[in-house]
Symmetry: C2
Subunit: 231 residues, 2 copies
């Protein structure tokens, strides 16, 4: 019959927490895609094959729904500390951190997430604040700590680790970030491009802040660019 032409029509609709998660997932997708103002509660309900009442049964308001989703995702933007935690040499640690950051900024939900946070920063400043703290703030702090201890170990020479951290992160991130924020569509950065860029940033950084060990200026650029273990 025409009734079951769509298999979805006869699915068993889950209740309770399960349903709530479905709604949250859909809402997150739509908010990230269209932004806060351009996403209506009706759109979310329809997309999830639910009704507005169900939506409001689970979430008290659009604002609350948005806040919950965004702050949940804020955890994901805490830059990975793996390379900094292990006692890797600076060249390796910085390269890995740089690659992680660049991936985070340019791939998957990254651009949309930053975009929406910035767009709604004046409407939800406290959200932007926790986002900054968990994301860029945490990354900067970790890198600062790493640079300081690496300096104490004699691997680096950073009299002002926090400023050095800002410089490195900036060099890696900046241009691609702005590009993603302003022109969404054209973000086709190849993996090779990324590696070259991060590599260049690491080399520049180490030229200035490198310690007395043999990791200063070298023509053999391969020495500072180990292949990351995971693509």
């Amino acid at each position: 019959m025409a009734a079951d032409a769509k298999a979805k029509t006869v699915r068993k609709v889950p209740r309770g927490e399960k349903r709530r998660e479905e709604l949250a997932e859909v809402a997150g997708r739509l908010f990230l895609k269209h932004g806060f103002a351009e996403t209506t509660m009706q759109m979310i309900a329809s997309e999830a094959e639910a009704s507005k009442e169900t939506l409001y049964r689970h979430f008290s308001s659009k604002e609350a729904l948005f806040a919950e989703l965004i702050s949940a995702r804020a955890a994901a933007v805490a830059g990975p500390q793996s390379a900094l935690a292990r006692d890797e040499p600076p060249a390796t640690a910085l390269f890995e951190l740089g690659m992680s950051l660049l991936r985070l900024i340019t791939k998957d939900e990254g651009p949309s997430l930053f975009h929406i946070i910035i767009a709604d920063a004046h409407r939800a400043p406290e959200l932007a604040a926790i986002f900054y703290e968990r994301g860029p703030g945490t990354t900067l702090k970790r890198l600062t700590d790493y640079l300081r201890s690496a300096t104490q170990r004699g691997q680096l020479r950073c009299p002002d680790p926090r400023r050095a951290a800002k410089l490195f992160v900036g060099a890696v991130i900046a241009h691609h970030h702005l590009h993603c924020l302003i022109g969404q569509p054209p973000s086709p950065i190849t993996s090779g491009e990324m590696r070259e860029h991060v590599q260049a940033a690491v080399e520049m950084f180490l030229s200035h802040f490198g310690g007395q060990a043999g990791m200063g200026r070298e023509t053999d650029s391969e020495s500072a660019a180990p292949q990351p273990e995971e693509s």
Copy 2:
């Protein structure tokens, strides 16, 4: 009488082009302050002590008004080329460029302008595009050209001038830019802080890309930081 209790009530309202400029000025202020969606035509009219009809007599629609104001301001974000155009030595040129960029990003209308462009990038992509091209795009292009010719002159050693330009601009801009975009209120960057940061970026850059002349790594940091001629 009570009628002239407010002095404003009896001012002579200018007509024609003058009035249009008044309206544009007010609209610009409000758009920059509250964003596109959160600014209503009624707000603009009231703030300018005008009526909506007058507003619509001068501007065909809210969209057109916004576009006119923003693209007019886009001219202002073309990074200054003065230091790059004159044949200053790299240390001086880069320092001046960096200071100009940082000022542009953090002072006056800069943060709001970037903020609103990013926020409305998906609604008005062509506006964002011309903004990027006239602003960051132009700056990057000019710096790339400068680095290339400085390399040919033997003042620098940049095998890939465009990448080098991205690294420098990123190191100077990134952190402060993000900070301004996400957390509007706290942008109290002192002039001294700015100078130190730009200075550090220049030193790092020149450590790696500096030519054979005596402008490589130096402990005398003052040599690369002449006072800018204009505050």
